[in-house]
Symmetry: C4
Subunit: 220 residues, 4 copies
């Protein structure tokens, strides 16, 4: 068996190992992102003033929608980056992925709860715990996949693996802190939820070379 | 016609034979999984105590959501595994697949019915019968595809085919038993529904080599 | 430029010309199929008798759901078969495809209307007209794509093209007849809607060789 | 490294750089297109006359649905065309894409608002501003991708780049004008919303050669 053969063998294995998982994940992310807007119900208004007050009343739900869109978008990007390194799949990996998608599928509900009851610390706590769980499951996912290079390519940069682990552990902690802060001030918690996704805007050094996704051309 | 040519000819045939079916199935699974959460309506609450009691009231619906997510996730995985072996498609196969997806599309409804009326054996029965039908159609799907190697590769391990048949016949029987048990105790039925998906966690010997999906590399 | 090069050139062209259209169409079909179930709302019931009568009340909506699932499944299969022959795309083709998907996206509404008002000929007429329009747009799609082999391979069997045209013209006529029959008896119209998708079960001679989708292996 | 190798290296890079973004975008477009119909609720009617008046009452919502379907279809086609030229991805590009998808995900809400309150200039303004924002974000997306050939192939025709920029700047301006006109006459605004998508029907010279998507065969 030549090296080329093994490369060919690897291609369908990888395709089957992660392609359909990626399709399901993309589908669930796309639907969760779009279902968020269903929380905004447009009603018939008798006058334009009533329409304006209806829209004002929707403002917190709209804010929860925009924040959750950013949160899910960033989680989607993270999942995208993870699958870029994960070349194999197994049952445990599929199970953790489904648990992760379960936490993602909950976001339209917890975002709706937050948008409609933003003044209560309990709503912000449930939202924060939901996102914290999503982050914790993702951390478990990455640790499982990278421990002993179980599901990643053996040539994967160990510094990058450790760096992503730290980031993936930091994010759920931040959501937990935001959830706790809600009991001091729900506004502060809301602001935290809005700011946490922005952390991804400026990539740190070890993953900066990934931004153009050029790293792949050197792997085969 | 060389062996390589036949491999090339097989690739697009397979792609057309099963790729778009897989896309439709992934789409329906992704939507069914995410629609489950629509059963949880967040309402405006006047006080935090009212919010808490609202959430407590949603607990059975949330339990039905989580269980159904696991059930659908396991069915999705099974469908994934089936399509791994099925290399051709025909009208009967497409018809059975659509019937299977019909039973899957019903799950958000029967899960909502169960979550809202968990105390009535009738609700658990309808849920159990829905999942039993999904399992029976899947069994018919596998039997049709594997009888005389109709839609699978002739080199497919016959022991594996028989093993999957037994599993695919066992699962709908379990759901039927759970549906029947509901008339003794709805709690027992609920627990059964929660436990059945866990059967997939520990793969038995004949399919264990599939867990890493490495088996594919030897097929071409 | 050798023949092989032109085949290579054709591959990405085809991919771009029809792949993303197919993805969008599969997405819309998957969602329309799954949204159908949203018409079935499960309510809290006070007693099991009330739950049973609630379910009985949903029976016509459930029937409309199952029929529409079959109708959409058959339309999806037809679209799948069409794209199998269409190797190029242009703006008119995209426009007709979007018009077709518009009629498909209407089905969850017209099916819900039929399920809730099955006793009125008007509801059956709107449902029938919706499906008739879907069929007419599909007919226009096929005529446009095949006239002078505009978007299909020049080697496509002309007998098959004419046969599919006749079928694609027949189907909307049948839905129109069913819609008209509703003014005599809504039951008869309902039965027609249930039977029309079954026409696809037994393929006629000119497309029978497509059932195994083997015809593709000879095309390159 | 031969030229063929570099072509091979480019293929997975491109796939990873834009394929999953395209999948997510197609998913969100497909869902947004289909969710539009959820605004049309079919109710039980006591008499056929009541059913007819119910349907008449839905007419403006149906018009908003059809217009929005055309608008989203055209935006989807534009996104499709953009991704045809964009061969790389980076974080900023992903961020702008998510912002674009956020404006797309808002359309089912603003369309529902317009359909239910078409007589108020405020509703038409919100709808127009939503589409204007979608267009502005798309313009930013294209400018970012093409500035210094950042994410497009260096051989991309500069005339085409400038032409698409002008079109992508024109469209949001038109939606802004339509939103402003609503304060003179909501009917005029409605008609504008219906006509703007038709601008895409007749392609201007610089992109006419793209209609058959044949331009690709010459790029590698």
């Amino acid at each position: 068996m030549t090296e080329q053969d093994s490369a060919r063998g690897a291609a369908p294995m990888r395709a089957l190992g992660t392609t359909r998982v990626a399709t399901l994940a993309d589908g669930i992310f796309a639907i969760a992102l779009t279902l968020l807007v269903l929380d905004l119900h447009a009603q018939h208004a008798a006058t334009q003033t009533q329409l304006l007050s209806q829209l004002r009343g929707l403002a917190p739900q709209f804010a929860a929608f925009v924040i959750s869109f950013a949160v899910l978008g960033v989680f989607w990007y993270g999942h995208h980056m993870e699958l870029h390194f994960i070349v194999r799949s197994d049952r445990v990996h599929l199970g953790i992925t489904l648990a992760f998608l379960l936490t993602i599928a909950c976001v339209p509900f917890s975002a709706s709860l937050l948008g409609r009851n933003y003044q209560f610390p309990l709503a912000a706590t449930i939202y924060g715990v939901n996102l914290c769980l999503a982050g914790m499951v993702r951390y478990a996912h990455w640790v499982y996949a990278t421990a002993g290079y179980r599901l990643v390519d053996p040539s994967t940069d160990p510094e990058m693996i450790r760096y992503v682990r730290r980031i993936f552990l930091l994010v759920p902690m931040l959501y937990l802190v935001a959830a706790a802060l809600a009991w001091l001030s729900t506004i502060v918690a809301f602001v935290c939820f809005a700011l946490i996704p922005l952390l991804y805007v400026k990539p740190a050094r070890p993953t900066r070379h990934l931004t153009s996704l050029r790293g792949i051309s050197s792997s085969p």
